[in-house]
């Protein structure tokens, strides 16, 4: 009970303003408040129950289970008999960094993120700035067009792009043929396969960055812009001195969400290249899927999942710190 009283006393707890401090210890009003609080307590927990049950079963428990599994030799037979898995300590983790495929997957995922995230943010910002540059006609039309790839299933998009990039029947090969250029076999080339996947991912995700930047841009008061213009700021100065600093919170959110998404890249290589040619598009998630569900090295795959999670956490924290510091 002491905790609840303490909480009622904290600012923002609702009824404090109504009940004068002096009466706070008295039995009358405080009793009523405690009464309401306990009523809220019960209903608060009842309203939380469905989410909490689902959360515990399908999130908290699996997160812990993945960690435990990563210290075992969990394999196919353990799917029916989980408790017979043997504890192997850190074996899976040490094995990971001797696994050439994993090191390659780590490198490929990094490549995908380092090129893909800035391109997505850059093109999204460019589109948003163009849409916000005082054009009044067709704005919705363009916005809808740019956002369309975001709402479509990645699997379908990957299938479409595989065809667009097809060396014999594809759109790009055909256009090249018309111009008299021999286009390369994008997805069949070790050097070009990953850039092709990045291009597709940028194409698909640009729209969601754009919408967020557009909302951020519209939140900048026009007076600020006009004042800058009166003071003689050019377009680029205005962009650098006003738009970029005021967009920083949006930038932070877009950067974090895009990075998390790109670090987990799976569907694009799964559908388009199967990780090839010669593992040049094998990503961490795809490698994890193969080890876990094709070969049933589930302990090993769990260790991989955790390494990926730690990477996501580290990069997100770093981004939050870097971008936040500049704001203050």
């Amino acid at each position: 009970m002491s905790t609840t009283t303490a909480q009622a006393g904290t600012p923002g707890a609702g009824q404090d303003a109504v009940v004068p401090k002096a009466q706070g210890d008295g039995a009358g009003p405080d009793g009523r408040r405690r009464d309401r609080l306990s009523r809220h307590n019960l209903s608060g927990w009842l309203f939380s129950t469905p989410f909490l049950v689902l959360f515990l079963t399908f999130m908290a428990f699996p997160i812990v289970a993945t960690l435990l599994m990563s210290f075992t030799d969990f394999g196919l037979r353990n799917v029916t008999d989980p408790l017979s898995a043997q504890f192997v300590g850190l074996d899976n983790y040490t094995k990971l960094f001797q696994d050439d495929k994993f090191v390659k997957a780590l490198f490929n995922t990094g490549y995908f993120v380092i090129l893909g995230v800035p391109l997505t943010i850059g093109s999204g910002l460019a589109a948003a700035v163009l849409l916000n540059s005082g054009i009044d006609r067709l704005r919705t039309f363009f916005r809808v067009g740019f956002y369309a790839p975001v709402v479509t299933a990645i699997v379908a998009v990957a299938v479409i792009w595989r065809f667009v990039l097809d060396p014999s029947e594809g759109l790009i090969a055909g256009l090249g043929h018309q111009l008299g250029i021999q286009t390369p076999d994008f997805l069949g080339s070790e050097t070009l396969a990953m850039p092709s996947l990045i291009m597709m991912a940028v194409w698909r995700n640009m729209g969601s960055a754009m919408v967020l930047f557009l909302a951020g841009l519209q939140a900048i008061p026009t007076e600020v812009r006009e004042a800058a213009r009166i003071d003689g700021a050019g377009i680029f100065q205005e962009f650098r001195r006003i738009t970029v600093p005021l967009l920083r919170p949006t930038m932070l959110y877009v950067a974090v969400m895009t990075t998390i998404g790109f670090l987990n890249v799976f569907e694009e290589p799964f559908v388009m290249t199967d990780g090839g040619p010669s593992d040049s598009t094998l990503t961490i998630s795809l490698h994890m899927y193969r080890e876990g569900f094709d070969f049933f090295h589930m302990g090993y795959a769990s260790a991989m999942a955790y390494v990926l999670f730690v990477i996501v956490l580290a990069i997100t924290t770093l981004q939050l710190r870097l971008l936040k510091d500049k704001t203050s």
């Binding site: 939380s48 469905p50 989410f51 428990f61 699996p62 289970a65 993945t66 809808v144 759109l171 055909g174």
Partner: protein, 295 residues
């Protein structure tokens, strides 16, 4: 969105700009750049849609044929022969509807509790919600498969629905909107002796209908497009969702030859309903994203 406020001050410079050649040139440049961007964005979709109606001969033609000279439904016919589209469509729809309904209910319940009820545990629960926003789904994949296998739920609708029945994003979104409802309104109802459930069901939910609309679009779409878990949780083609059926077909090495037209027909069927709904409801999409992202 405050279009009226932002448009008014811009109207004056716009009329002046009409006479100013530099401003006009700039405006033209903006339209040109946007149009180029739009062509790049839309071309793959157009290519897909048109290709799904092309004959085998025109699919392989070089130089490429944009507009099919003879339209054919052969690709769709072959798709229906090789893949159980009807079943996959039904599965996707069933799963998405159940997931959406569950999310609407459970997320707004917790959203209400977090926004308007004072209870011990409110802070840690909100912390959990924020934390859950950050956790990638890959982390739960392996034990979830083991769990579902142990319960005999692989290849069941339950396996496809339950893990997504409530999401942190939804709770966060609903909390934002419910917080805006004045406390006095709820207090008045409480004075009249209304129970919390009644207040939630009869007062709060009707007031946040736009938020519910936004949430249902996002959840439905997320479920419709979801891939990795349905891929893991189903082995029986009769339980495949559309993306899984399409991907299985697309990555099957025995289907490799001459199936581009059929694949485009498949992609067309997966993408078309979503694009239609999106164009009709685009306002909710972009507003919802902006609201959820910025507040």
């Amino acid at each position: 969105m405050s279009t009226t406020e932002t448009r008014a001050p811009l109207a004056a410079p716009a009329s002046k700009a009409r006479r100013d050649p530099a401003a006009r040139a700039r405006r033209t440049l903006v339209y040109v750049l946007l149009t180029v961007g739009l062509i790049v964005t839309v071309a793959p979709f157009l290519w897909m849609a048109l290709s799904s109606f092309k004959t085998q001969r025109e699919l392989g033609a070089s130089p490429p044929v944009w507009w099919p000279s003879e339209w054919t439904l052969d690709n769709f016919r072959e798709l229906l022969d090789r893949m159980d589209v009807g079943q996959a469509l039904f599965n996707s729809l069933l799963v998405a509807v159940f997931v959406t309904v569950c999310n609407l209910l459970f997320c707004s319940m917790l959203g209400y509790a977090l926004a308007k009820l004072n209870f011990a545990g409110k802070r840690p629960i909100f912390g959990i919600v924020l934390g859950a926003l950050m956790v990638p789904g890959n982390l739960m994949l392996l034990p979830m498969f083991v769990m579902m296998s142990a319960m005999g739920l692989i290849d069941s609708y339950a396996a496809l629905i339950l893990p997504f029945a409530a999401g942190a994003f939804g709770v966060f979104l609903m909390r934002q909107f419910i917080q805006a409802i004045p406390d006095e309104l709820l207090e008045a109802a409480r004075m009249d002796g209304a129970r919390e459930w009644y207040i939630f069901w009869r007062i709060v939910l009707p007031l946040v209908k736009p938020a519910l609309a936004t949430l249902s679009i996002f959840v439905f779409l997320g479920s419709w497009n979801n891939f990795l878990w349905p891929l893991v949780a189903t082995n029986d083609p009769a339980k495949y969702t559309l993306p899984v059926a399409l991907a299985t077909f697309a990555t099957d090495p025995t289907q490799a030859d001459g199936s581009n037209g059929v694949l485009m027909a498949g992609a067309f069927l997966v993408v078309l309903p979503v694009l239609l709904v999106f164009v009709l409801l685009q306002r909710f999409f972009t507003q919802g994203i902006a609201t959820a992202g910025l507040k």
